[in-house]
């Protein structure tokens, strides 16, 4: 019998300027096949990854922000956003894409994936993980 481990991905970089954000997302989607207890944390510049209204038509790069909406299909339903990181950047949760997942057990009821947490709460969650990946 396999043991489920707690995996947390820490997303700390903005999208497009470097490849980190997209690489992290790909690893999450591929890793989702292993059916572990996966969560994502968006902190520091990582909060910019899930800002709504991204439009890359002017910079000739793929806009991968819609892919975050597929995370629910991959059973990745815990997206923690650090409140202090938003505040330091003049952002609120309303500036983020509304990311949800659908609960098959409750007739596909739509539920929020994003949970706003404090820096101290994130630190505590990190302590509870078996494996942490930082991007």
């Amino acid at each position: 019998m396999s043991v489920t481990k707690k995996f947390m991905y820490l997303n700390r970089r903005p999208p497009y300027g470097t490849i980190y954000a997209w690489e992290s997302l790909e690893v999450v989607l591929i890793g989702a096949a292993f059916e572990q207890d996966v969560s994502l944390a968006f902190l520091d510049d990582g909060v910019y990854q899930i800002i709504k209204g991204q439009d890359t038509s002017g910079i000739d790069m793929k806009n991968f922000s819609p892919t975050y909406s597929a995370l629910g299909d991959y059973e990745v339903t815990k997206l923690y956003v650090e409140r202090e990181s938003l505040e330091e950047r003049g952002l609120t949760v309303d500036d983020l894409m509304p990311l949800t997942w659908e609960d098959e057990a409750e007739d596909w009821a739509e539920k929020d994936s994003i949970q706003l947490i404090s820096r101290a709460e994130l630190a505590k969650l990190m302590d509870e993980q078996d494996v942490l990946f930082s991007f």
């Binding site: 970089r13 903005p14 999208p15 497009y16 300027g17 470097t18 520091d44 510049d45 910019y48 800002i51 709504k52 209204g53 991204q54 439009d55 890359t56 038509s57 002017g58 910079i59 790069m61 806009n63 922000s65 330091e88 950047r89 003049g90 952002l91 500036d95």
Partner: protein, 101 residues
């Protein structure tokens, strides 16, 4: 001999912006592009620093702003949006370009 300074790194991750502003004298210009565009937005921990630069013209590259979902109403007052052609024009207009990569 006026200088066009360019910053393409996030001000929250690297000190390029801080160092650039400390070295930008009156009559120079600062163009923010790529991840540097976040420095042009209001209400951040570096907004006061950016808004407080005296005698330095502030520009931001529009396509990079748009890609990151940063609408123009988020911009600090006095920041001018330019496109790629505007970037080239600025580079030609100033005597030297310093890229704070």
């Amino acid at each position: 001999m006026s200088i066009l300074h360019t910053v393409n790194k996030s001000p929250f991750e690297k000190s390029s912006l801080q160092s650039c502003i400390a070295h930008a004298s009156e009559g120079s210009a600062l163009l923010l592009y790529e991840d540097g565009v976040y420095a042009a937005t209001k209400g951040t921990s570096v907004s006061d620093l950016v808004a407080g630069v005296a005698g330095v013209k502030l520009y931001v590259l529009g396509p990079d702003l748009k890609a990151r979902g940063m609408q123009e109403e988020r911009l600090i007052d006095g920041v001018t949006v330019v496109d790629y052609t505007g970037f080239v024009d600025l580079a030609a207009e100033y005597d030297k370009v310093v890229a704070w990569v």
